[in-house]
Subunit: 478 residues, 2 copies
């Protein structure tokens, strides 16, 4: 007997390279088929062609759906659809679940309605609830019609929650037991299952009305005397969730308490579902992903999306950025007289604004993280303000002096050096205030503090930086 030990990342990269190689060979052959006209050549090439595709198909058949999903994400559009067409249809559902939203869209666009229905047929109700909203509405109702009443109710219940609520992530496959039975009976009961739901690390102990009474971790079940009763060894200090709980906060609780699964209960403590760590890992990944992207003003973008889609995705931020840049430009415009008297100002002003923008972004990044982790509350905001102002003062004094001396040395005017220093200090303080309060205010008004913070901060530090520097110059140097 041999153990198939895989180094997962290496084997995945290898598979991706193999698929890419086969695709390239395939395209090469196809190019030749199109160029050459002779019937004999044609036949030979077609055979090679088919052989290539078969080889690719066989390779794909050996891969885990999650790996195929990964490979699809890493392929340009045309190649992706080629591979998607060759994937075993039985894996379609799983793969659609694994890929990102943007890639899912590109795959669904290539599927016929009956293929979508077939793919949906392979999924559990909680998975269906994730996929169905992305299907065309005609297909949606067809999929729901194929379900029995109970399953349909589960799908519709899961679909009634928003994506960031626990309800949309819970599954319905849990094992429940009563408190007043012996462990021996539990063990016999479990043996009647063909398999336990994935990520079952505990059984939920309920009463006749499905009210949660505690949990029996499998680890305890296995080490305990089978003659004991469930209620003797069950844990009654349970972390539970409710369907309207925020998924991100639940994920943080999974992190803190190292959970593998947890019951979801309604307001009467009746068990209605279960969430598992694999979904929470996805939530953590998606949230951090969304945070990085939204700091740059992006929504989820398929790496290989069409140019048109990408332009649309990046448009809002760019438009906003152009407006703010225009305002900053008008600030400078109103000092054109000053600049025409002392053109050195034009060369020095981007230093003041640029450094303000960067320090403001640093502050904001820390504040956004603190907000996401629930570390910031009204009582400690004052401390944070003092800290950021302290940093701004020190940096402003230090770097303002350095740049002031440089400006003095370059242009031989001590006044210019002093204005530079003063402007740096003031703009550092502006940057600290803006970097602290922009995300706090956005949070207060119920907006995502990451999305667009960075544009707003750069806009404010730019415009105010120009205003402070050119204003000081107008007052002291004109």
């Amino acid at each position: 007997m041999t153990v198939l030990t895989r180094k997962p990342q290496e084997s995945l990269q290898e598979s991706l390279q193999q698929v890419t190689r086969l695709l390239e060979r395939h395209k090469l052959v196809e190019g030749m088929v199109h160029k050459q006209e002779g019937p004999k050549h044609d036949l030979v090439e077609k055979l090679v062609h088919r052989q290539n595709l078969t080889e690719l198909q066989m390779k794909l058949a050996t891969l885990h759906p999650a790996d195929i999903a990964h490979i699809l994400e890493a392929l340009p559009h045309a190649d992706r659809l080629m591979v998607w067409g060759l994937v075993d249809a039985e894996d379609d559902g799983e793969i659609l679940l694994e890929v990102s939203d943007a890639v899912r869209e590109s795959l669904l666009a290539d599927m016929a309605p009956h293929e979508m229905v077939a793919a949906a047929g392979q999924l559990d109700t909680d998975e269906l609830a994730d996929l169905v909203p992305d299907l065309p509405s005609a297909v949606q109702s067809e999929v729901l019609d194929t379900l029995d009443a109970e399953d349909r109710a589960e799908v519709q219940s899961a679909m009634s929650y928003t994506e960031d609520q626990i309800g949309s992530l819970m599954d319905f496959e849990m094992v429940t037991i009563r408190a007043d039975i012996k462990l021996e009976v539990v063990l016999r009961y479990l043996r009647r299952f063909d398999e336990l739901p994935t990520h079952t690390d505990k059984l939920f102990v309920v009463d006749d009305n499905d009210i949660l009474k505690g949990v029996l971790p499998l680890n305890r079940l296995l080490v305990s005397d089978p003659d004991k009763y469930v209620q003797e060894i069950m844990a009654d200090d349970v972390v539970v969730f409710q369907p309207f709980d925020d998924a991100g906060e639940a994920a943080q609780a999974f992190e803190r308490y190292d959970l593998v699964s947890a019951p979801v209960v309604d307001s009467n403590h009746k068990v209605i579902g279960r969430i598992t760590v694999d979904q929470m890992v996805d939530v953590i990944r998606e949230e951090s992903d969304a945070e990085v992207l939204s700091l740059a003003g992006l929504k989820d973008e398929d790496l290989f999306s069409s140019v048109g889609k990408a332009v649309k995705n990046r448009w809002p931020w760019l438009a906003l950025n152009i407006c703010t840049a225009f305002i900053a430009s008008r600030v400078i415009g109103s000092f054109e007289d000053t600049i025409s008297h002392l053109v050195a100002l034009a060369a020095l002003m981007p230093i003041v604004s640029g450094i303000g923008g960067n320090t403001g972004t640093q502050t904001t990044t820390l504040i956004i993280r603190g907000l996401a982790l629930g570390q910031i509350q009204p009582s400690n905001t004052r401390m944070l303000l003092l800290k950021e102002l302290g940093i701004a003062l020190i940096n402003g004094l230090m770097w303002g002096s350095v740049l002031g001396v440089m400006a003095w040395a370059l242009y031989g005017q001590i006044g210019l050096g002093l204005v530079m220093m003063g402007a740096m200090m003031l703009n550092m303080i502006v940057a600290a205030l803006v970097g602290l309060f922009v995300p706090l205010i956005m949070q207060k008004f119920g907006r995502d503090p990451a999305y667009g913070s960075s544009v707003l901060i750069t806009a404010l530090t730019d415009s105010l930086g120009f205003f402070i520097f050119l204003g000081l110059a107008t007052i002291f140097l004109m």
Copy 2:
């Protein structure tokens, strides 16, 4: 019997607020004690004072170490040390493991050597390996001396790996069984344990030399006939890791294959340890955290660190930023003649550079994500280049025209409008190239593509943007 059902996030926020309230009341009383002198007052206040602290201590005693860690992170320095002093010493070790590196440092600075040794005494060997490197060297050797030979070897082995290697994260508490025994025997064997290691979802099947032969998931053990043999029902298709594997890649494998635990083997397939999903969740959180921070040029910073520490943390990026801003300023300086002829250029130039910087950052953010997820490889770089150039052309043409018309309208010079448009288009293309190639080249040279990408890109798009705009203006308008 009652079930203690907790909504974890709410109860955590409540605890944090309670602790903060008690701390504030405490400080208020302390303030009064210091102000008032009369002996009677003094006594009363001291009693109230002590009562407050007792209440705080009792509250802390009810909390999970992970929750205390969270509260410590959310408290300003002085309050944090106050609470840290009141925490049950038995939880010290756990809490030190849970807090971030920056906060751990601030807590350790407040501990006596014997307290550190006591805290270390509460931990398993894999946890010790995480804590020990942060201890003063005298304490380190003392801690290692308290261990028996086997434990010391485990700690030293774990410490020999870098933080981003699996070896530093693996634990040594796994349950191994032989393949040629009946499940019944396995069940009896498990009952001899007081408890199974946390996150045990599978038993590792090994031969006499500890060579991995397969795994027996508990879920299969529980549903199978006890008369069967391990080898009949074990899985021999196992995802395994090696101690030098990258932790981030392992975490991605846990995500893809929904793992709870996995064996770590040496090059002979001998089982040497185990990694579990809770550690992988931490890796994912830390990596995404580090990515967000390093995009802003920050290393891990305690939200309530001292001003001095924060200045030091933010210093390198700021210094680099000042150098690049200075270079950009010199580029403008070399066009002072042109600007003094047409001062409108000074007002318009930050638009060109600023928008270049932002679009470059958007491109880079997507590329960094693609690299982190392993989606980018040599074969698809050309596609990405074409996509980004396409976007740059469209955006440059569209927004360049808008801004060109605006410049024309504002300053009444069609030439200025055309220069604006041309410069926008060219700088968009520069931004696309820079945004794509800077992270790719950094990755090629083995550097973290996130750290500092953003400074480099802004530096390049600023300097080149000024150069293109003022250069075109010099050629066509002078």
